[in-house]
């Protein structure tokens, strides 16, 4: 009978961020839909109330259905029967409940039978679902693919496919191939155009495709013969109703076992082009991946939340040497750090989400009318921030979720190593977050531009100027000191003008910036609500020491050292 939204006041806290007024007003275009749709909000407060009430439904489904099913789903896994993927029984129950509750097209416009919610409540739903079952969120969260169709598909495609997703059909994004993983430019799956039929056909193999047997798949394929790089790739929609795909196998995985990971073979599979040819990787996959990375950020935060809760419950219950183990400094320090990393990554999640929300909505508005110069500038500002915050979030939150799952299992001692406690599953599920949708190392490649262009530094300078309560000023001073140290260290590396040397230290530099940014975010949270003080204190003092270590390492390093690592 738990409600995973109501039992966690931190969620409501982030939902009620002051910037939501702007986000909702942009998203609802002056609340014009209310004349046409009986479920559209009347005004800002009404929209926020709807977000809250719908999140409460999700919280209830998670507490009553999804979380209790998680263990069996993990044990049961998935099967292929007659060339179709069959989910675990619990997975199907989860989907049925979410379909009945109308939660499959949360961000889609109402004219496509979606809820037209902003991204923040959708990502919050993903945060909650991930706490309940991190494997399941992969199936449900693929409604992201609909966002890509909504952004780049034509009106006819939107009309035909988006309503199906709103009403419960699942999706997949088929990008990876055996020889094209991190390097998607190497995609080989062939798309050929049949002039007489005026139709595209797909031939080839995709691997590691989450929910590869979904109703509607977005497929990246090589449409331009004779090309070998990203500019020869286009994006296609494949409809499962065509039955032109063989599900060759599903992977036997370390974690997220309820989520089917498929190897699929396209054989003369009819498909529809999305948008324009050659833009598949350069534009559409980038958009799709940014959405997916935000989703993995939410998944990581949800897993951290689950790990934190398991740690607390166990540490309070387990008695050794005559008292609950939570009373020992070695244990309560670990728990406080789990919570600090959880709070820091959740704060970065919603900060990133708000920026994506604003620029994406402006982008959609620009299709309806031309934006004012002021609006254009604002869209650009938020888009730029989203571009370097998204990989930072994905990288940091997924690494933290792994650390948190590790520490939580450690607190469980030998019991945590057994299948008897949920942490064993949570620990396995966490592992993938820092790998898929681009490894942490690739997030660093994307985020390092935020370091070299000073985008992170400029954002931090903005944060410095935001007024704080007197009692928080000492923390601001620590962060200011860390910022000077960071700027100095970046300069040291950039002065060498050596790209390999920059790559070598890139992760350290990105993390230094990330630590400062998350430190500020926790201070702003504490400014709004005292209960984040502990996390702000623990986090800022922890990352101060970590940044000193990184700065020290870098200042003692030189290009000549690289030979010892090669």
């Amino acid at each position: 009978m738990a409600n995973f939204f109501r039992d966690n006041p931190d969620l409501l806290f982030h939902l009620q961020h002051p910037l939501m007024q702007k986000i909702v007003e942009l998203k609802e275009r002056n609340f014009a839909d209310k004349a046409q749709f009986d479920y559209a909000p009347i005004d800002f407060n009404d929209a926020m109330d709807s977000y809250e009430k719908v999140l409460e439904v999700i919280g209830e489904i998670c507490g009553d259905i999804i979380a209790p099913n998680a263990e069996n789903v993990d044990n049961e896994g998935v099967q292929i029967v007659n060339n179709e993927v069959v989910y675990a029984k619990g997975t199907q129950e989860n989907i049925d409940a979410l379909v009945k509750a109308g939660l499959m097209g949360i961000t889609l416009p109402r004219k496509y039978e979606g809820l037209n919610f902003a991204l923040v409540p959708y990502i919050m739903a993903a945060d909650i679902v991930s706490r309940a079952d991190a494997g399941f969120v992969n199936i449900w969260g693929l409604q992201d693919c609909a966002e890509t169709i909504n952004e780049f598909g034509d009106d006819d495609q939107k009309e035909r496919f988006l309503k199906r997703i709103s009403n419960g059909e699942t999706a997949a994004m088929a990008l990876t191939e055996p020889d094209a993983g991190s390097d998607l430019q190497a995609v080989q799956l062939k798309a050929s155009f049949n002039e007489t039929e005026n139709k595209w056909y797909l031939n080839g193999v995709k691997r590691f495709i989450t929910n590869g047997d979904g109703h509607i798949s977005l497929v990246l394929a090589r449409s331009e013969e004779g090309t070998s790089d990203g500019r020869g790739l286009s994006m296609f929609i494949y409809d499962r109703a065509n039955k032109a795909v063989t599900i060759r196998r599903t992977e036997n995985k370390h974690g997220i076992k309820g989520s089917p990971t498929c190897e699929i073979v396209f054989k003369d599979a009819p498909a529809e082009l999305v948008g324009t040819r050659r833009m598949g990787l350069i534009k559409y996959v980038m958009a799709l991946m940014n959405g997916a990375r935000l989703g993995i950020g939410a998944q990581s935060v949800g897993i951290s939340e689950a790990a934190y809760r398991e740690a607390i419950v166990y540490a309070k219950e387990r008695k050794q040497f005559g008292k609950p183990i939570i009373q020992f400094p070695a244990v309560y320090e670990m728990i406080a750090r789990i919570k600090a990393k959880l709070d820091a990554s959740r704060s970065l999640l919603y900060e990133t989400c708000r920026t994506v929300d604003i620029y994406k909505t402006y982008m959609h508005i620009s299709e309806e009318r031309s934006l004012t110069n002021e609006e254009k500038a604002e869209m650009k500002y938020f888009q730029k921030q989203a571009d370097f915050f998204t990989p930072l979030l994905k990288g940091m939150a997924s690494e933290y979720c792994n650390q948190n799952a590790y520490d939580s299992l450690q607190i469980h001692g030998g019991s945590g190593f057994m299948k008897d406690y949920p942490i064993e599953r949570i620990y396995r599920d966490a592992r993938i977050t820092s790998i898929y949708e681009g490894t942490t190392q690739l997030q660093v490649v994307a985020a390092i531009r935020g370091v070299t262009t000073d985008a992170f530094l400029n954002k931090i300078r903005e944060y410095e100027e935001i007024p704080l309560k007197d009692e928080l000023i000492p923390y601001n001073n620590i962060l200011k000191g860390m910022t000077e140290e960071y700027a100095k260290t970046v300069k040291l590396v950039l002065e060498t003008k050596d790209n390999e040397y920059l790559d070598f230290h890139a992760r350290r530099l990105v993390e230094m910036a990330g630590h400062i940014i998350m430190g500020y975010l926790l201070l702003f949270d504490t400014e709004r609500d005292e209960r984040f003080l502990a996390s702000a204190d623990v986090y800022i003092k922890m990352v101060k020491a970590e940044n000193i270590a990184r700065a020290e390492y870098i200042s003692n390093s030189s290009i000549d050292d690289l030979k010892f690592f090669r």
């Binding site: 009986d38 009404d46 719908v54 439904v57 009945k100 509750a101």
Partner: protein, 290 residues
């Protein structure tokens, strides 16, 4: 062919997770300390009605509840899940009703609703645990009744086929329509609230609610009549006063004893799974745990 279904539901104090202040000094239920919820088996009943509505196109569901003004929440919960209309039967004249007076008032309200093929109620409410109201309504309306229903197989061509859960098994029975069925807790759980319906109906309120706690969204009701929840007082239905409320309630509480559980007898279990499972089942069924 569509069915006209009436669902009977009750708002009850949540007696499942009681704290130490759940009872007052005098041994009566401290309603203020317990959250008011949709009676669990009435939710099972509602789910059966919703399934029939999906199966037989053109069906309608009307939810009828009797209680204080705040019981309008039960009707909203029904609207969020797919009922078409709700009536709140509320009046001081109904206060103090036992099961006989309750079923009398409800039967009178059903006569006023008039067109119905099927009446579905939960087996019993968790506050009184009597399981009498559903059967008494059937008697008063001279309708056949099927109790302990777990699944409705079909309801067409003037008859209904229902699976019943008995103590040691199940049986499938048939009855002519219209009839009353009461649904067991072992029937499928009720579906979650549907988000679009939740947003559509969240401003639905009774006149009393609009009067007592005005909201800035009340003016919507004039353009959206479905946002008005109908309240029926004793004057809206045809009744004989002598059967109502305390007057119509032969059940009198003589005294209430506060029972404190004490360990009087002990039971020895061996360490095999079956015996442990039996104990768990026993403790759940007598509400010691759950």
């Amino acid at each position: 062919m569509g069915l006209n279904i009436i669902v009977l539901a009750k708002q009850v104090p949540d007696t499942r997770n009681v704290g130490k202040d759940a009872m007052k000094e005098d041994g009566t239920v401290n309603r203020a300390a317990l959250p008011a919820i949709f009676n669990p088996e009435d939710l099972n009943a509602l789910e059966q009605a919703l399934r029939l509505k999906e199966k037989y196109l053109g069906s309608t569901i009307t939810l009828l509840t009797m209680g204080p003004p705040r019981a309008a929440e039960i009707i909203r919960e029904g609207l969020y899940r797919g009922i078409d209309k709700g009536y709140l039967l509320t009046d001081r004249a109904f206060a103090g009703s036992d099961t006989l007076a309750t079923s009398y008032a409800i039967a009178c309200a059903i006569r006023k609703i008039k067109d119905y093929d099927l009446i579905i109620a939960g087996r019993q409410a968790i506050d009184g645990d009597t399981a009498q109201v559903g059967p008494q309504v059937a008697e008063k309306l001279h309708l056949p009744q099927i109790t302990y229903a777990e699944e409705v197989f079909s309801a067409e061509k003037g008859k209904i086929t229902v699976k019943r859960r008995l103590e040691r098994g199940v049986e499938t029975v048939e009855a002519p329509l219209p009839c009353v069925i009461t649904v067991n807790g072992s029937a499928p759980e009720c579906r979650p609230r549907a988000s679009k319906l939740l947003m559509k109906y969240k401003h639905a309120r009774t006149e009393t609610e609009r009067k007592e706690q005005p909201s800035c969204y009340d003016n919507l009701t004039s353009q959206r009549p479905y946002l008005n929840i109908s309240e029926w007082s004793v004057n809206d239905i045809e009744t004989d006063h002598k059967w109502l409320g305390l007057n119509g309630s032969p059940t009198k509480v003589k005294f209430i004893e506060s029972v404190v559980f004490q360990a009087k007898e002990s039971k020895k279990l061996s360490d095999n799974d079956n015996e442990i499972e039996d104990l768990i089942k026993e403790l759940i069924s007598n509400h010691t745990i759950g």
